[in-house]
Symmetry: C2
Subunit: 270 residues, 2 copies
Amino acid sequence: MADAVKAVLLFWALRLCIQAAFANPVSRFSVSSDKLVDLSHTFDRTTVYWPTLADNETFRLTTIEDETQSDGVSYRIKFYEAAEHGGTHLDAPSHFSKIGLSVEKIPLDKLMGPAVIIDVREKAARNLDYQVTVQDAYDWEKKYGRIPNGAFVFMNSGWDAFWPDKKKIFNFDNSTGVETYHFPAFHPNTTAFLVFQRYISGLGVDTPSTDYGQAAVFKTHEILANNSAVGFENVKNLGKLASVGAHVIAIPIKITDGTGAPLGLIGINP
Amino acid sequence: MADAVKAVLLFWALRLCIQAAFANPVSRFSVSSDKLVDLSHTFDRTTVYWPTLADNETFRLTTIEDETQSDGVSYRIKFYEAAEHGGTHLDAPSHFSKIGLSVEKIPLDKLMGPAVIIDVREKAARNLDYQVTVQDAYDWEKKYGRIPNGAFVFMNSGWDAFWPDKKKIFNFDNSTGVETYHFPAFHPNTTAFLVFQRYISGLGVDTPSTDYGQAAVFKTHEILANNSAVGFENVKNLGKLASVGAHVIAIPIKITDGTGAPLGLIGINP
């Protein structure tokens, strides 16, 4: 090999070593817009709430001021109101635990992490009462590797295609009785496995609840709440996130003493 | 040089070249918790709103359900309500422009980007009516380099130390008349410079408005709104962000037709 070639290679070896030594991966934040996925529904009169809530407990936006001044400048302010739990929202541990953290106390880094997407679209299409099994989680791991500590595990049931059609989402029959709801979610055994053996930070579903429609007690909620894990409900666009390698950032409104809150949830594809 | 040494160096040159070729910086998302800075105040009865709003237009949280069932499981749901503009919040272009985008229409990537922190704490301490000047922006550039396209430029006036003391924040005197307010913000000339010559995505202030307290017309608001740029108001913790090299991610509640919204704002230090 010519000396000149060796010199060039050595120069590059040194250059790259120095670069590698000074690179700080934790400080790197660079996301191109085609990697971003919006996982939150918008809030308005069509936003889906738990059917037992009264109409005046669901999202409303009213105008406080709307004027055009003499100089042509226009100006608007509105007023929002809703129950915490509706639309794309966070379940804080305090929702189902007296000593669980309320929304504003959850540390930022417990609301971001790797996303694991478990696709049960076919199973849920055949069975409205489907509950994600421990086997579903194992099957995911067989394909993609161990679920990382601090992950957010999402059920993609395809339910966001029904949004905001309450009838199709809850599959209830002329009734608001909880016993008539049919939609998929996580089986409590799966939640226990993910929380106790995979140390996840939270669960996400594209349906109205992390417990399935037919649940008479809310065991998944209890397991999450009693172990400082969070729930994300009515998530959208999970089909646009990679099954493995994506990250999510969840930012709720920081409501003091809130048991839940409207959630901005973004996914970043690998 | 011994052949063995050459061989090792060549191996590493090749290895690092291959690594560099396959590295995908845009897909990298890894943030350690000590780099995260929470830039949002919490929402409750103490949250600061524009003084002209009525008491029942400011943030309130009320309990819908709070029960402990016979099996010992406890369960809580609350209800939130407030004007869009108060606390740490987003000003959407539609706040001051009839054709400006409302909150839910702003693309995700227009709500994240590099943060530029202009420190005017000393100037604002001496002059409650301080307005950040074009020279302040030039001075920042002299120290840290050109303000990048798509940046969010923040004024750190030190005002978040007064939160939530309305008297110290607005410096009004037994009156809610707008003409008695005194707090710092951006001078409209500076806003014009940053929007038209630096292509920024938005401005942020640790005071209640991007226009200063004594403003009779809201020129900075108009320039932002008419150019699809956003405003972040009542931001906190700007002193904990690096003057250069940090990034911000802003996630509002996606209110359909919202002119503003409570904002989750996080900073990521370099």
